[in-house]
Symmetry: C2
Subunit: 372 residues, 2 copies
């Protein structure tokens, strides 16, 4: 099928770009001497993860138990659930762990560590666990300098029911970078912190098999990961307008787009409307810290994906994307556009499936593991 | 099943509140002397629409063809698709129209009107069509004072293949209201404009059977709809934190919430994290024009839904909701909270199903018609 025959709005993956992005990251991880454990939350598709892991280790990272179950069913046997586990989900996690090689959990509180330990003891299993460190993102993870860190390490490392896998962090603040230099600085600080912490623990006799970092902007900015053993970027496989805005990728590396149809044109009012609204693109505001006028995504031509700078997505409501700019005068109802969303992860999750294209031909359809 | 046994994050509907909201709006529409044609895009569930339409006409409004198909299959036979139709979707719309009593389309361009006419002629059917008027929302609809309006009315009214149903508008700018007085002013302006336009057309001999307005804030603010025949509010059935913020509803009328579990607590950093992030709540910024510190939803207690003012949802990422405020010190991992999202329509669309509760007991599960 040709792209022109797809009904809109729909999600479209550029397979050639995706494959290039996968190869580039795998090569980069090898050169940096770290294992690549891609975060599959961006696309939630087994097919995409197979492409990502072909040239690196088979390990992946997930953000939900629904992803974990789907990827386990799809043949992935070494999965890290990189969100602190809710006590109520521990039994489900243990069940999954007993069915695959390793389902690695993350904790950042004593309560969660104690709950994992108790459940593992009750089931007679040993559960692999990472301690999450807050390297500056200010979301989850223990304060690297705080007392909680030491208490937790002692508890986890001493437990018979817990297999302490090491330290894990996510530099979410790299998304506030303005450019590659900012991301580089954040990546260096993240590396230095994690490598130092791991060395300290080892000096105290605590084995730290894995030191895991990762976010697309930092991994792509840094040139030396000494002291780090693993990276977990996710967005890099398909990128988005945000990553382009902060200098992480070029426009022609973005491999995910939403195909849309123009449904209303009123040039005298400087506006047109497409059928891709908040439920197709998500209302992620994009890199407004770099470009306050960035709008809700980047509009490109359907066939060759060249940017159409005369059009801006000024506003999104549920099923309407309002375009402004000099380009609206050239539009007619029925015209089709391709939109690079601000945040591919959030936009992709809006769709039941993605149409996978080579050039303008649909060659496959992938179904993400949505929900929880 | 008790609410405590639900896995999180999940969507929860308070059936008692929903029924009260439905009754109140139906009573209100009767008193105002207008037909209630509820917009079902908010919940996308046949079960909810049955409750909405029990006391008014059976007509409903939809925002996608997927909703139209699902509601037609669910027994709804008079459906208005209140988004300007894309030329490529006209044949699908005609197919649907031939299977139910009426599938009413909306156009706001000559191109779309001509395309509907041509397709209807080719199929030998007469298609009911509304002309959309822009009453100030600045999204879709013709300029009420512009030349396009007259050209379109002439074209539609003269067509043998088009059954001109009347005028339709949506005061989307009512969402920028700061309070009920603002909404009232917008509602009066909308009513006056639409009633005047309809009268002008009738004076020229053009029958205008329906004059349709509607948005939850305006319909709930106005006390006189003389000249209007139909209202299409949607959000009123379940409301949300936004509607509460602009004074459209009370907190105890909000009937949709997301149940979440605390997964990380670090009081020394003034933060805790729940497992409801951007993919459960949507990143709708909420009524920031009224309260810049509103955060990404309102947190309430699980059982009696009383507000917990000491907690604010400061930030959302894909699967993390970061809470701040004095209330975090009292939280423990595993604690559960209920969150009124900023925008129920966008949050509800994140879920494969909603758990329907009477009090704290789950009595049903509804499946929205997602996608397009």
């Amino acid at each position: 099928m040709h792209i022109d025959n797809l009904s809109t709005p729909c999600a479209v993956v550029d397979l050639e770009r995706l494959e290039k992005n996968a190869t580039r990251m795998a090569t980069r991880a090898k050169r940096l001497g770290v294992q690549l454990r891609p975060h599959v939350k961006t696309h939630k598709c087994v097919e995409a993860a197979r492409i990502q892991t072909a040239e690196a280790c088979g390990g992946i990272t997930v953000s939900t138990l629904a992803e974990a179950r789907a990827f386990a069913a799809g043949g992935f046997s070494d999965i890290t659930y990189a969100v602190p586990i809710a006590p109520q989900k521990i039994l489900m996690a243990i069940d999954l762990h007993t069915r695959i090689e390793a389902f690695n959990l993350v904790v950042d509180t004593l309560d969660a560590a104690a709950a994992v330990e108790a459940a593992a003891e009750a089931r007679g299993v040993r559960i692999p666990v990472f301690l999450e460190i807050d390297c500056g993102g200010g979301r989850t993870g223990v304060d690297p300098d705080g007392e909680v860190r030491d208490v937790l390490v002692r508890r986890i490392a001493a437990s018979e029911a817990i297999d302490f896998r090491g330290l894990l962090t996510h530099a979410g603040h790299a998304y506030r970078a303005r450019n590659r230099t900012d991301a580089y600085d954040i990546a260096c600080a993240e590396r230095n912190l994690m490598a130092t912490l791991a060395a300290e623990l080892r000096d105290r006799g605590v084995p730290v098999p894995v030191v895991s970092v990762g976010a697309t902007p930092t991994v792509l900015a840094i040139d030396d990961l000494t002291g780090i053993t693993e990276v977990r970027p996710g967005n890099y496989l398909i990128f988005d307008a945000f990553q382009n805005g902060i200098g992480t990728c070029e426009v022609d590396e973005i491999a995910f787009s939403v195909l849309a149809t123009v449904i209303s044109v009123h040039p005298e009012q400087n506006r047109a409307v497409v059928d891709a609204g908040a439920l197709a693109l998500s209302v992620d505001p994009g890199p407004v810290h770099v470009d306050p006028e960035c709008g809700f995504g980047r509009i490109v031509a359907v066939e060759d994906q060249h940017p159409l700078p005369g059009l801006r997505i000024a506003r999104l409501t549920q099923e309407h994307g309002t375009l402004t700019g000099p380009g609206v005068a050239a539009l007619r109802p029925g015209a089709r556009l391709r939109i690079f969303p601000n945040h591919s992860c959030l936009s992709a999750a809006c769709f039941e499936s993605y149409h996978v294209l080579r050039g303008t031909e649909v060659v496959d359809e992938w179904h993400p593991a949505r929900g929880w």
